[in-house]
């Protein structure tokens, strides 16, 4: 059999392999060691499968809609008319790979720290992986909603069962926030279906663009808001962010990594794909206040992060700030801003994911996230300190690191949209350098207490986690073009659908500037 015949199935395979693995784990006896290795194997195979996607992305002829690769469209339920319609473009492509890339590290990070109910933990983790990938590949609104909700339960359980002291409160808060917000999205989806008889994203996009679905009066605005609320809570956009610090602080390391690395991206991805994809006019009209919220989030998140005594909470608030950049980039409606936003999603996944992994490692040693309990760690843990610095620099966007490319593009997009946006948002970069470097100083320099003086340095398992992430942060900073090519094209497609010719030229200029 020709391997290329598998092309239509590769996405399905990548998506459901983890779920299948979870099912098999459920049948395995409770031998924790075997279960860990098995989960590791499954997640690595999934990663390898998903790597097929970027390397053959250009090879496959685009079927159907013409925008999405590896497309597959099968009938699932006849009434309502639900299709199993999946496919990826240059944006979701990388988000899928980001997901599959982070999960093996989560498995590794949970190797020692999860001792109780290991079986349940890895089942939940793998089910979560399937759901997360599903969110990024679904092109049927119903299917999308299904995967969207499906991420909720395993994540809430991971926080609630394996988290820290106030885990139940955090899990319930996380669940209710997301659940209630997504009900609005469901209502909007059903409304669209009632009008058009289809859940298909590309069809709906076409129907709305051509005016075949009548959107009288304020209807378009309400639909836009229905989707927007669900995504804004997930992002989280100021002032809907209050669930995030609690969820992050209470979640186990793997939970925090996936929450920050992938789940938040589901929100920004949704804004980009569905809010702008389906309701471009409304998105343009509402951009000013959304950008305002995003900028408030950037500054507010950074300032609150600055004063946190708890490391994990600080990184959580820094996420609010970073994701503000992403939303700003998306709603700048410029090629540079949007491309930067997508790139920043990946960067944030890598750097914040890595930061949570790093914090998890000292937590495993000292069982505290309070900054005041640390200090002078550079002496007993030199390797750890070095890697922490690399990731810190990536997070604050030092040139040559990945964060720089994303932030630069977003800011240049913001300046193109309105100079004021760029000026205020740029201050966020300064704040982030402030709180991250201050954190670094307080943890790694200064006097060392006797308890900390004997801490062991990063062991082999931990180095296996950290080196690839740090290396990737560097590579993504030096050779962004590998990622940019496909992102560019898809962003141009989205923008092109908005107002004719996209400003591809502007992008070329900005990318060149970045390289210099």
């Amino acid at each position: 059999m020709n391997l290329s015949e598998l092309n239509p199935w590769i996405l399905t395979l990548t998506t459901f392999l983890p779920a299948l693995g979870a099912l098999l784990i459920a049948c395995l006896p409770r031998r924790d060691r075997d279960i860990r290795w098995f989960a590791m194997a499954i997640s690595v195979i999934t990663l390898l499968l998903s790597l097929h996607l970027p390397f053959h992305y250009g090879d496959v002829p685009l079927a159907g809609s013409g925008t999405f690769a590896y497309e597959q469209n099968l009938r699932w339920v006849t009434s309502p008319n639900i299709h199993y319609h999946i496919g990826i473009d240059g944006i979701s492509l990388w988000l899928v790979v980001l997901t599959t890339f982070l999960v093996p590290f989560c498995v590794l990070a949970s190797w020692k720290s999860i001792r109780d109910r290991v079986k349940e933990f890895f089942i939940l983790l793998l089910v979560l992986e399937t759901a997360m990938i599903g969110v990024f590949i679904a092109l049927d609104l119903f299917l999308f909603y299904f995967f969207w909700e499906a991420t909720l339960i395993p994540m809430a359980l991971i926080i609630g069962i394996f988290g820290h002291q106030r885990r139940v409160y955090a899990a319930v808060k996380f669940f209710l926030y997301t659940m209630i917000a997504s009900v609005f999205m469901l209502a909007a989806i059903i409304w669209l279906y009632a009008q058009s008889g289809t859940f298909d994203f590309t069809e709906l996009q076409h129907l709305i663009a051509t005016g075949a679905i009548a959107l009288p009066g304020q209807t378009a605005l309400w639909l836009f808001l229905g989707f927007f609320v669900a995504f804004a809570v997930k992002v989280p956009l100021f002032p809907l962010h209050t669930w995030l610090p609690d969820a992050h602080v209470e979640a186990p390391t793997a939970g925090s990594v996936l929450l920050a690395g992938v789940l938040l991206k589901m929100g920004t991805y949704g804004l980009l794909r569905f809010n702008i994809g389906l309701f471009p006019a409304e998105a343009h009209r509402n951009a000013p206040w959304i950008i305002t919220l995003a900028i408030i989030g950037i500054v507010y998140g950074a300032l609150v992060a600055l004063v946190q005594p708890n490391m994990k909470k600080m990184i959580a608030y820094s996420s609010v700030s970073h994701l503000g950049f992403v939303v700003l980039g998306i709603y700048s409606f410029t090629q540079a801003g949007m491309t930067g936003a997508v790139y920043q999603m990946l960067n944030h996944g890598i750097s914040t994911g890595a930061l949570f992994l790093l914090l998890g490692m000292v937590y495993d040693r000292r069982h505290t996230y309070e900054i005041k309990d640390y200090g002078g760690l550079a002496t007993p843990m030199p390797v750890y300190a070095t890697l922490f610095l690399l990731i810190t620099l990536s997070s604050i966007g030092l040139p040559l690191m990945n964060g720089f490319v994303g932030e630069f593009l977003v800011l240049s997009g913001a300046f193109q949209a309105k100079a004021l946006y760029g000026i205020i948002a740029a201050s966020g970069v300064i704040w982030s350098a402030f709180y991250m470097l201050w954190l670094y100083q307080r943890i790694f320099y200064g006097t060392i207490s006797p308890v900390n003086a004997t801490l062991p340095d990063a062991n082999l398992r931990e180095r296996c986690i950290l080196w690839p992430l740090a290396a990737l942060a560097l590579v993504m900073g030096v050779f962004p073009s590998f990622w940019m090519n496909s992102i560019d094209a898809s962003v141009a497609g989205i923008l092109g659908a908005q107002h004719g010719a996209a400003s591809a030229q502007t992008l070329q200029v900005t990318v060149n500037t970045v390289h210099k």
């Binding site: 909700e149 499906a150 339960i153 659940m179 009900v183």
Partner: protein, 484 residues
């Protein structure tokens, strides 16, 4: 003269009756103290045989009227037959170990379930008011006795007594309604009544009173507000498997009657009656459930709320195909998930049903992961999370409501299902995120209960992943109901 085909049209009822009578005969012959498990297994085969009979009856040549115009076999009746019979089967299976454990191991229990099912099956196929009444009584009387089956427990006796007294009143109301409807239309046949009511230029005031009375009677049976007061007390006291049975099967049957009698005959003014009942039931059910600390009471209020969601589907029955098929799908999905939840509760209850507080479920995820996982799945289905039957059920109901432009009802319904998720989640949180309590021991799962849970699980999952087959069946049903 009845023909052979007439008998086939009541074949499931015949099978159930014969089986029930055999069980009744064998019971006194068996020596005192001897296990009645064999009788239970025999009864389970009875339910299976009745399912087979229903499948046989489903052939196209048997569709239509039977025994004059007494009953009508169609998609609609067969669908509800299957729901009732599957619930009966699951109930019998989950009682196999429960009865000896609670020291109430009597054979007539199984006979009552089988005979009660006769009434419920008949309710879904009867189109003659008097026959409907008789069927309703058969089903009710069996339920009254079953509710008091834990006769050593005072709360079970209380449960039975309350159910009986209030239930008798409700049936009396129903009977008045039937009489007045006959007075108003001059017929006791649903099809005739439908023709008369829809053709009439002026509807007699009597008909309005009749509909109100009939709705009162049936509203009691389906436990919709404001006729719901009995539900929590009765559910709390009755044996858990019986609650599984009577919160689903008689309810489904009563809904079938409601569809045939109130909606399908285009009874005057039904819309606002149903609308009000729907809103009240959803709000009262969900608010009440939030306040409960006893799992059975909580699910009792939840069943009131679900009756409300079903009423939403009824209210949108102005578009027959959508509303009625959504209602049918909902009753099947609700039966599957609620029976499953009560199967787990039966297993958890301990001797004398000691462990029925929410606190007793603390750490169940650790003590018995499989039971906790199953219960979680059923609860998620009751919330309406995708890949469970509960999701599509709610989806069909609310999209039917939207398509018939019942915007406010949809908003109230969606808000209610959001509110409802709180108390189901609270139980899930208890199971997984609290430390286990030592005095509630990890129960050992018997074969019967495992089968009952498996049946419910498969049904819930099937309705949630591949709803097509069931949906097509339900969509075919309304077109052959009375006024078509």
């Amino acid at each position: 003269m009845p023909t052979a085909a007439d008998y086939i049209r009541i074949l499931p009822e015949i099978v159930l009756s014969v089986w029930g009578i055999i069980v009744m005969f064998v019971e006194p012959i068996l020596p005192e103290g001897r296990s009645r498990k064999g009788l239970g297994i025999f009864s389970a085969f009875g339910a299976l045989a009745a399912i087979a009979a229903t499948a046989y009856q489903a052939q196209p040549q048997f569709a239509g009227f039977g025994f004059g115009n007494m009953l009508h076999v169609d998609h609609f009746s067969i669908f509800f037959h299957l729901v009732v019979l599957l619930v009966a089967l699951a109930t019998i299976l989950m009682s196999l170990d429960y009865l000896p454990f609670q020291k109430i191991d009597h054979g007539e229990y199984y006979a009552l379930i089988l005979l009660g099912s006769v009434g419920m099956c008949l309710m879904s196929s009867a189109v003659e008011l008097v026959l409907i009444f008789v069927a309703l009584e058969i089903s009710s009387i069996a339920s009254y006795i079953l509710a008091g089956f834990r006769r050593h427990a005072a709360e079970s006796a209380e449960s039975s007594m309350k159910y009986f007294l209030l239930g008798s009143f409700a049936t009396a109301f129903f009977l008045y309604g039937v009489a007045l409807l006959y007075g108003a239309t001059g017929s006791t046949n649903v099809f005739d009544i439908a023709a008369k009511l829809s053709g009439a230029t002026r509807i007699e005031p009597l008909a309005y009173v009749a509909v109100a009375l009939i709705f009162t009677g049936l509203g009691f049976k389906v436990a919709c507000a404001p006729f719901h007061i009995w539900t929590p007390d009765v559910y709390e006291g009755a044996p858990s498997p019986v609650v599984a049975f009577m919160s689903t099967a008689p309810k489904a049957a009563a809904f079938a009657v409601l569809i045939r009698l109130v909606i399908d005959t285009a009874s005057p003014n039904w819309f606002w009656v149903i609308w009000t009942a729907a809103v009240l039931s959803m709000c009262v059910g969900n608010l009440g459930a939030i306040l409960q600390s006893n799992v059975k009471r909580m699910l009792a209020y939840s069943s009131i709320a679900h009756a409300g969601y079903l009423m939403v589907a009824f209210a949108s029955a102005s578009n027959r195909e959508l509303g009625i098929s959504a209602a049918m799908f909902y009753s099947a999905a609700y039966a599957a998930m609620n029976v499953g939840a009560f199967a787990v509760i039966t297993q958890m209850s301990g001797s004398g049903e000691r462990y029925s507080q929410i606190d007793d479920y603390s750490g169940l995820g650790k003590r018995s992961p499989m039971l906790a996982a199953a219960l979680t799945f059923f609860l998620l289905s009751l919330i309406g999370i995708p890949i469970t039957g509960g999701f599509f059920a709610k989806f069909y109901v609310f999209s039917a409501a939207l398509r018939t432009h019942l915007i406010w009802l949809t908003i109230i319904g969606v808000a209610n299902s959001g509110m409802g998720s709180y108390y189901y989640l609270r139980l899930i949180v208890r199971m997984y995120m609290y430390e286990p309590r030592t005095e509630a021991p990890a129960p050992k799962v018997g074969f019967g209960i495992a089968m009952a849970i498996a049946i419910s699980l498969i049904a819930t999952l099937w309705l949630g992943v591949l709803p097509n087959a069931v949906l097509h069946y339900t969509q075919a049903a309304p077109t052959i109901l009375a006024s078509h």
